[in-house]
């Protein structure tokens, strides 16, 4: 909310320095997001035009003599056309500093020394378009000679104050002044609501037909001449960011900003039948708001209708038909109270948020309606209106309930005691009633604090006023608890090891455009239907990600200069709910995956596979088993399924060439995906005591059918008891081994736990191995020998 410090000072004496007010507002819970400073302005006084005559040497100039107080007069030449003798106007004297760095120097205007300048709103840094063309017009009630800048406090900054939604009372200048007055310990000067009633609002009838209109105060004011509002009001409105229009409209805005109660003024002559009906809008009902927009309503909105149909959109905006205009003779003040959520729902449905709706949606107190109407009536009377007695319908305002503070509740929440005397003092300063006669301290919030309902609310008020700095920091002793961190620890370990293995962690958006899934499907990849966002802000956010791979492929393509490229992401992936007869509302599926990508360098697949196996070994405590598999995103013939024990924990493979093409990455790019929830808990590996006897290394090359898997050969080799390790180290396909065959070379380490192996024993073991491989795989040895 824009809060001109100039306006705040009308109600409370604040420290000279704006910084102190800004800091105090923050400690009260109203942080100031921005301080809009105003330019330095000096040497402007209020003057009265005594005489006005044409300039002898220029058709477009006039010469004024100005009474500027204390018997002084100034002779000023002006080109303005809206000047007349007798007007009260701001006058910049020689040496005056004005907006935009303008300084008034003595100057000759067509041969005559001009002793200053008559100024417009723009020259004192007010929006020129919001004020009269030409010279600013002031009320004759302002004493001639008054320092114009000081009088209107035109150099005071405007604060952008952040008001939390529980405090609609502070969405007003008086509301914030009240907080500051309580905090600084100074009195609040409440604005006047004095009026001399002239008659009753007896001819008006208001019928409430909706439960969401809590209270409706109405009051007739006649005889107001429509004209610009007084300068002091226009200046305050303009500083608050509200464009002045005419005195009546300005008064409704002024009273709202001042007190927080939005008001609506009807042109009473344009209310058919002098009868207002407050009711739910009808579906499809059409209505033109005063911004000239025709709107189609539905039952979420509330309208104030007369006998000719809707004439105001309750709590949000008035209607064009009964809008106050230049010809308005009689106005009906409406000050109502609405159910907050209802106004919020209607305002969101209509996509129409106004100063009124942002206040009403926070559920204003009933009493504020009467106070707002009275203030507006007073201001209209000041404008020459004759004010009738107000009427009201709906619930009467009632005082908020008492809240009991059991002893110890303050200490229990804040960790320290506030003495009862101090509690009473701070609460009374905020307008609370305090009763200390019973066993517990009881407090009654003031009418404007309908957010204070329970003891904790009162404790916050006390804490706010004594200052949160009084809370002593204390490190708590945490009791043993059943809840554990296993999931987080697992994710941390996975990510940390991946980073250690040379992969960089990415975080990509989990909402995607539809094009991602389309691209995969167009490539012939089968994927689950991703969950759809019903209300995305843009098409880029419509679908939840079904896999982490698309983003990593995009990064790999984008960063093609970075090779070798190793990246991983650990995050949630989603699939739409599958229709299931057993489940009334099937849930979308959400799982945690880790996907890693390796592009470039030698043998991306081999490296990625080794890295993933090392990762699995480290986090599960066991060697994963590798077998053939297929997985969407991976090449059907170049994919390994990974098992920890019996559990399938993921896949590693070469990217599906169709995706490689679609993303424009090398077809050697490798991808791995681990299903994090499937990973078995870490199992402490048993200690295998090393043999005391020397190992014997033997290399074995065999020719096997092309489809034989090295992993299966290794498993077979390991069935020989003397084998400690068997590691394939070379493979060959080509003319030397014949079509449909390949050669595999294995390094085999033989070792006994009981004796040093003799050559004969080692040879016998190798012979057994060869026999096994021949039997199981049709393997034929190519050459054998020790390490070269």
């Amino acid at each position: 909310m824009r809060v001109p410090l100039a306006w705040l000072r009308d109600y409370v004496d604040l420290p000279q320095s704006p910084d102190e007010t800004v800091a105090r507002l923050a400690t009260l819970g109203f942080p100031v997001d921005d301080v809009e400073t105003r330019p330095a302005l000096t040497n402007v006084v209020v003057g009265r035009i005594a005489t006005l005559e044409p300039h002898p040497n220029a058709d477009r100039l006039q010469l004024c003599t100005l009474d500027v107080g204390a018997g002084a007069t100034l002779l000023i030449a002006t080109a303005a056309t809206n000047v007349a003798a007798g007007q009260t106007v701001p006058v910049a004297r020689i040496g005056a500093q004005l907006a935009g760095g303008l300084t008034i120097a003595p100057r000759k205007m067509r041969g005559i020394d001009s002793q200053g300048m008559l100024i417009s709103a723009e020259e004192v840094a007010l929006p020129g378009a919001w004020f009269e063309d030409g010279i600013m017009q002031l009320e004759p009630t302002i004493t001639v000679g008054t320092d114009f800048i000081a009088h209107f406090r035109l150099t005071e900054p405007v604060l952008e104050v952040d008001v939390t939604p529980n405090r609609p009372d502070a969405l007003s200048i008086v509301g914030l002044a009240r907080e500051l007055a309580a905090s600084f310990g100074v009195p609040l000067r409440e604005p006047s609501s004095q009026v001399q009633y002239d008659g009753d609002t007896e001819d008006a009838r208001v019928t409430i037909e909706t439960l969401d209109c809590k209270r409706f105060v109405f009051q007739r004011v006649s005889g107001v001449r429509i004209r610009p509002a007084p300068a002091w009001m226009r200046v305050r409105l303009a500083l608050a960011g509200q464009r002045p229009l005419n005195n009546v409209v300005d008064i409704s805005n002024f009273a709202m900003l001042e007190l927080g109660q939005p008001l609506h003024f009807f042109d009473w002559d344009h209310v058919a039948g002098k009868h207002l009906i407050v009711r739910d809008a009808k579906d499809g009902e059409r209505f033109t708001t005063l911004d000239g927009q025709e709107r189609t309503l539905d039952e979420r909105a509330i309208v104030t209708a007369d006998e000719a149909g809707p004439t105001s959109l309750a709590g949000i905006m008035g209607g064009q038909r009964s809008e106050v205009g230049d010809a308005t003779a009689e106005v009906l003040i409406e000050a109502a109270t609405w159910t907050g959520p209802r106004i919020r729902r209607a305002s969101i449905a209509l996509k129409l948020r106004t100063e009124a709706s942002t206040r009403f949606e926070k559920s204003l107190p009933l009493a504020l309606a009467d106070i707002g109407a009275a203030r507006a009536a007073h201001l209209l009377e000041q404008e020459g209106g004759s004010v009738a007695m107000p009427h009201a319908t709906g619930k009467p305002a009632s005082a908020p309930g008492w809240v009991g503070l059991t002893p110890g509740v303050v200490r229990g929440l804040l960790g320290f005691d506030v003495p009862d005397d101090e509690t009473e003092r701070v609460l009374v300063s905020l307008g609370f009633a305090v009763d200390r006669t019973g066993p517990e301290l009881r407090v009654q919030p003031p009418y404007w604090r309908n957010d204070v309902l329970i003891p904790a609310d009162v404790v916050e008020e006390i804490a706010r006023m004594v200052g949160y700095d009084r809370v002593r920091a204390e490190v708590p002793a945490v009791q043993p608890q059943a809840i554990d961190s296993a999931e987080f620890d697992r994710e941390t370990e996975l990510a940390t090891i991946c980073a250690g293995l040379g992969y960089t962690e990415a975080i990509s958006l989990s909402l995607q455009p539809g094009g991602v899934a389309e691209r995969w499907r167009a490539s012939g990849i089968e994927i689950p239907t991703p969950p759809e966002i019903l209300n995305p802000l843009s098409e880029d956010q419509r679908w939840m990600r079904f896999s982490l791979a698309p983003a990593l492929l995009e990064f790999a393509a984008r960063d093609r200069a970075a090779r070798p490229y190793r990246v991983f992401e650990l995050g949630h992936v989603f699939a739409a709910a599958e229709h299931d007869a057993c489940q009334a509302a099937p849930e979308p599926r959400e799982t945690v995956e880790l996907t890693a990508l390796h592009a470039g360098g030698e043998s991306a697949f081999g490296r990625l596979k080794s890295d993933v196996l090392a990762l699995l070994r480290r986090v599960t405590g066991r060697e994963a088993h590798v077998e053939r598999g297929t997985y969407p995103s991976l090449h059907p013939g170049k994919t390994a399924a990974l098992r920890a024990g019996e559990t399938l924990v993921g896949y590693v493979g070469v990217v599906d060439p169709r995706l490689a093409k679609a993303y424009d990455v090398a077809d050697t790019t490798a991808l791995a995906t681990l299903f994090v929830a499937a990973l078995p808990r870490y199992r402490m590996p048993p200690y295998v005591e090393p043999s005391k006897f020397p190992p014997v290394d033997r290399d074995l090359a065999v020719v096997v059918p092309l489809e034989a898997l090295a992993g299966d050969l290794v498993d077979a080799v390991r069935s020989e008891p003397l084998v400690r390790r068997a590691t394939p180290f070379d493979q060959y396909r080509g003319p030397q081994v014949g079509a449909g065959k390949k050669s595999l070379a294995l390094r085999i380490v033989l070792q006994s736990y009981t004796a040093t192996l003799t050559d004969e024993e080692a040879d016998a073991a190798m012979a057994r191995i060869v026999a096994t491989l021949r039997e199981r795989f049709g393997a034929e040895p190519r050459a054998a020998g020790g390490p070269s």
Binding site: L413, A463, T492, S510
Partner: protein, 388 residues
């Protein structure tokens, strides 16, 4: 290479010596002896010349092989003893052995000389230590995860558990159970993505408070790092997907002071030991009293201008990290609202508790003095490595 070669030579010398042990004394005729002595003297002279000319161990080894090797000159002389009368043979052998000993000593001296010279040269040698080696194979955690781990380390040290939860959340857990009924103005700024009328992408990590308390009796002390989503457009300060860490501690006698104690400690861990933390009244439907957490800007020590700029006495240039205010907002916190406690089956008359939430990107941005949050999802090459 030369030192190895040298040590090789040394070994061979030792072998040669041991093979001579046990030779006997013999007599010898004068004429034969004179001739032999002359031969040996000539040989010795040639040997000395070869050794003197040798500048490295390899050349010395060549000399050793040429003179003392199995088919070297000395062996040839030894063979010639056979032509001497038997009586002279022992003396001749003695002479030859003496000569060999001398040659070997000289060779050893020469070897020591070239080795010393080689060492001296080696010590003179330099490499360009600034020339880059092959790239290291070390990746990096994303800075957001790094912050989450740092926060978790602090809280687990104090006995807290770290729990994770789903990103698809029920509307009831995300809002209603947190005291935010439908059409409440507090839903402003928590604009959510809906998957179904009753399912949202969680707008904060706070629904995990509800899940954890429903499944675990008090006392409870947890933190919850994770993703949250708000229906916003991405810009320099907002991402529609971002990360938060939630904290919750509920039990008998837990008060605001404990919240302050834990958060001051957390901020000192994240921003430095001298970090100050300030609490300001605020409003969240699920806490009462509520507080905004402000951290004294670590970049400018709360002065609003950086040290370098202060030296230049240019007070008009603001600190970028805090925007010149000297403090920045870290997140929200407060005492858990009794309605929330009641809703999960806790008795607010018996237990009280606090909760807080703050953005992990925000922490990382303040730590690294970054001003555009979008960098966290761009994953530009070198980004994570640079901040690791």
């Amino acid at each position: 290479m030369p030192p190895e070669r040298g040590s090789n030579t040394r070994k061979k010398l030792q072998n040669a010596r041991s093979s001579r042990i046990g030779r006997s004394h013999l007599h010898m005729t004068t004429t034969g002896m004179t001739e032999l002595e002359a031969t040996l003297a000539a040989l010795s002279a040639r040997f000395d010349e070869a050794v003197a000319n040798a500048s490295d161990a390899r050349a010395l080894d060549d000399a050793r092989v040429a003179f003392l090797g199995r088919s070297g000159e000395v062996t040839a002389v030894r063979r010639a003893i056979g032509a001497l009368p038997p009586a002279e043979r022992p003396t001749a052998g003695k002479l030859i052995n003496a000569a060999v000993e001398t040659l070997e000593a000289r060779l050893a001296q020469a070897l020591a000389r070239v080795e010393d010279a080689a060492l001296a040269r080696s010590l003179e040698d330099t490499i360009d230590v600034t020339f880059p080696g092959p790239p290291a194979s070390l990746g990096a955690l994303h800075p957001v995860r790094r912050v989450a781990i740092d926060v978790a380390r602090y809280f687990t040290r104090h006995g807290f558990a770290v729990v994770l939860g789903p990103e698809i959340e029920t509307d009831a857990n995300n809002f209603d159970a947190l005291n935010i009924p439908p059409d409440h103005p507090a839903r402003e700024g928590l604009d959510s993505f809906y998957l179904r009328p009753d399912l949202v992408l969680r707008t904060h990590t706070s629904p995990m408070q509800v899940r954890a308390m429903r499944t675990h009796p008090a006392p409870i002390a947890i933190i919850v790092p994770g993703k949250a989503y708000r229906r916003d457009a991405n810009d320099a300060r907002h991402l529609f997907m971002f990360h938060q860490v939630e904290g919750l501690m509920v039990g008998p006698g837990i008060h605001f002071g404990h919240l302050k104690g834990m958060l001051v400690g957390m901020c000192r861990e994240l921003f430095g030991a001298s970090t100050d933390v300030r609490f300001r009244p605020s409003f969240f439907p699920f806490t009462e009293p509520s507080a905004e957490i402000d951290v004294k800007c670590p970049a400018c020590a709360g002065l609003g201008v950086t040290a370098v700029l202060r030296q230049a006495q240019d007070d008009n240039v603001q600190c970028r990290t805090c925007g010149g205010s000297g403090w920045f907002e870290l997140g929200g916190s407060g005492m858990v609202h009794p309605s929330v406690l009641r809703g999960v089956g806790y008795d607010p008359a018996v237990v009280t508790g606090w909760a807080f939430g703050c953005g992990l990107e925000r922490v990382a941005m303040k730590q690294h003095d970054m001003n555009d949050i979008r960098a966290f999802i761009e994953n530009a090459p070198g980004f994570a490595e640079g901040l690791a």
